[in-house]
Structures are given as structure tokens and as C-alpha cells.
Amino acid sequence: MTDASKANPGIEARIQERNASQLAKAINDIKAGLSEWRVWHLLGFNEIKHRYRRSTIGPFWLTLSMGVQAAVMGILFAYLFQSPIDRFLPFLTISLVLWNFLNATIMDGSTTFITSSSFILQSRRPLSIYVFQNLWKNVIIFLHVIVIFFVVALIYGMYPGWHYLVAICGILLFTVNLAWASFAAAILAARFRDVQMIIQNTFTVLFWATPILYSPEQLGGGRASEIVKMNPLYHILEVARAPMLENMPTAVNWYIAGGTAVVGCLATLLLYARTRSRIPYWI
């Protein structure tokens, strides 16, 4: 043993930790972020709690406004598309609920590090904590808003069944995709301030370009249907949406949604490994 290690029992572990590769540090950061769930649970939960403090129905305001939006749009589009409302309204409701979950998670995601700068510059925590905080906040909101779908489903005679088990798997896969996308958005938007606006505009277009208000078959089954099916967002959405509506997602839906999750998580991990130590300097 050298003199230095006698004076500092922790030094060998510290040197090992310091010399770890950037990739290992990024993985450790994410692991530590997950294990510090108390922090992101508290911060995410309090954000909602304080926004709706003193309001009687709290976050169920979001449920209510989603219900009104779905009802008005549902009736209008059922007339426009000449489709039976008892099939169309549940479809539209779950589509809007999932889309809002996706849109809010990634939009809030892009400001994660910028809005948390006062926390980040305050003490050392794994930066992934703030990404989990945002994801958790939006999961809680999603769980409030999805209530409206069950109400609509019951009204139109779609009763709970085994298909909800598949739906849970689909929604989990959907959430994994949101996790990496919001993480990547947070990193890129911290470095390039235009990214937030780019994402905002892209999503406005994607809302119409992705089969959310319509199904691909309604485009006539020809080339247009094939083109929208090339959009991975459609498949990511479909694995969560189809089982909620008592249909089964196709194998292609699962492959593309699963493949996007794997590729996206790996790409985000590499991006994070490259940028992690610089993020505090950017915000």
C-alpha cells in the first residue's frame, strides 16, 4: 500500500470511478437516477400538486377538457367521414389521449434541463433525475386523462377484458419510446436553442400526417395508406391504441415499435455519454 492510499481509504474506488469510460459514466448516471426515485417522484408529483392546489377537481380538469374536445371533434368528424359514431368516438378519444401524452412529454422534455438549471447548478445529482421527473409528471397526468376513455368505452358498450393486458404492454412500450425521445430532446435543446421550436413545428405537422384522427385504411388502401404506414410514429401509437379498442396490433406494429425503442435508447445513451459532462455548462 502506498502512503496516499493509507491516508485515503476511498481513493482507489474514486480513481476507478473517475477513469471509467464516458459510456460507463452515462450508464451509472441513469442507474443512480432511477435509484433516486424519491427525488423525481417528489419533484414531479409536487409540480402537479401545486399547479392544482385549491382547485376542487385538480388534474381532472385535464380529463374534463379532453372529454369535451373528444366529444366535439368526434361528432364533427363522424359526420364528415360518414363513420358510425359508436366506433369512431372511442377511437378518437384514445388517439387524442395518447397523442397528448406524447406531445406533452417531448415538448416539456425539450425544456427539462433549461428549466431545472437552478437545481442542476445547486448540487450534484445524476442529470437523468430531471428526465425521469418530467416523464413521471406526464405519466401521472396521462393516468388522470385516460379515465375519459373508459367512460366513453363504457357508453358505447366496450367492456373491460383480457385485451387490456395487451394494452398495458403496448402502453409500456409507448412510454419507453417517450423516455428516450424526451431525453434526447432535453440534451439537444440544452445545446441548441432552436431545437425546441423545431420540435414544436414538427409535431404540429406530424399530428396531421400520422394516422391519429383517421386510420390508414380510410385513405383508400392505395399508395397513401402505404405511405402513412412508413411513419414509425404510427406503429408506436398503434401498439398502445389497437388493444384498447379490442383489436390486436399486427406483428409489424410490434417489430417497428420495439425496434424504435431499442435503437432510440441506444442512440440516446451514446448521445448522453458524449454530452453528459458538458450539460451543466450549457444551461
Binding site: 491516508a7 485515503n8 481509504p9 476511498g10 481513493i11 474514486r14 480513481i15 473517475r18 424519491r38 427525488v39 417528489l42 419533484l43 409536487n46 401545486h50 392546489r53 437552478s118 437545481f119 442542476i120 447548478l121 445547486q122 448540487s123 450534484r124 445545446r191 441548441f192 436553442r193 432552436d194 431545437v195 459532462s277 458538458r278 451543466p280 455548462y281 450549457w282
Partner: protein, 260 residues
Amino acid sequence: MDRVIADRVNVEYPVFDASSQSLRHMLVLNHIPRPATSVHVGGTLERTRHRSFVRALKDVSFTIKDGDRVGLIGHNGSGKTTLLRTLAGIYEPATGTMDTFGRVMPLFNLTEGMAPDATGRELIMIRAVLLGLSEDEIADVTPEVIEFCQLGDYIDLPVRTYSTGMLVRLAFAITTAVSSEILLFDELIGAGDATFVDKAQTRLQKFVEQSSVMVVATHSADIMKKWCNRAMVFEHGSMLFDGPVDAALGEYAKLVAAAK
């Protein structure tokens, strides 16, 4: 035992003007050559062809041992806050290494995470979790904190109903409830109204005594003399002096005189 070992630490802040933080700059403008210059304000502003950055700490090396109470002194922009943030592990040095041993408690902003709509009791919980206290520690300190800050029934009201002094009391009481090995202060905390100050002083003293190491950035010679047994003088990100407090204050006085 050594608590902090800094070895030739360099810290660089990237400088993004509006254009260089945008994608356009990255994609299009990066090939335009710029003259490499070196200016002397705050840290050193340096430019290469591809990026400009402030060198906020330049080859800083030191070792801090158990029992050291270190004061950092220097002009604005001399690197004190950057050094504290590097000690806290928030900034990773561009080159060189900064190793700390033991729990580091940075006390820069006592009101971190304080939402105005939370009640005093909720705030104790939020702050305690943010400070990284365990469930057991939180359960231990909560009654003691409530007792110390003497807020009575106010503890269950939203903190927006508190006066500034009451809020500071609460923040101070939570922060000083559990001590750590390494304490970092950006300006030493003082708290509340006159009756509270004595109580606060005693508590702060106990809090600091329980720690192994304290590092405080300050402009006040009085605080330095009262709390520190070692001082470092910084200028433009370099450490000019490291030694006894009186000698350091003398060095700093010379710097101030030279600047006039």
C-alpha cells in the same frame, strides 16, 4: 485524512453568443477563421478557430485535510464560485482531477425547491429529500427542525403566508439539521431577526464543528477571521496564495491596491 485532492484542475466555460448556440452557426459558420486572442477580464477569454471559452480555473492544485476551514477570497469573476461548483461535483474539470471523500453538502441556495404553495411541513420533506437525507434522518430531524424555528401553527400553512424572515428561519433550520463531511458555502449564511441571530450562530457553529472540512467563498475579512484557519486568494482563475488567513488577507489587500 485528506478530504479533497485537486490536481491541476482546469475549468472552461464554453461561450455561446446568440449565433453560436444555434444550429445554423454549427452547420454553416464554423469555417470562418477568427484571430486567436487572449483578454484579461474575470477568467481568461480564449478563442480558437472553432470555439470560444472562458478559462475559469487555471491549473489549480491543493489538498484539504480534516479540520481545515478554508476561505476563498478574490475579485468578482476570479473563480471562487466555479471552484465551489467543481468541488461539489457539478462541473467536471476539462483537464485535471478533483477528488472528494465523504458526503459533500453544497449550501449555495437555501431555498432550492421551495414552492410557495407548499406548507412548512411539506417543505421540510422536500428540502430534506433534495439534500439527500435518508428516510430515517428525515424522521429524526423533522420534530427538531419544527421546534427550532418556532413557527408554531404556521408550520401547516403554505409558505406564501410566511414573512421573509420566517422563510429564512425554516430554510436555515432544515439545512443545518444534519451535518456532512464537506460543507461548501457561497457567502456564509446568517439568518433572521435579532433574537434569532444568537440562536442561529450557536447552531451554525455546532453544524460547522461537526463537519470535517468547510470551504467558504466570502468578501468579508471578518467572516474569514472568525471562521477560517486557512485561506486561498484567487485572481483570473489562478490560485495566487494558499496559507494562513492573515497572510492571505494581506496578499488580497495588495491586489486591491494594485487594481486602483
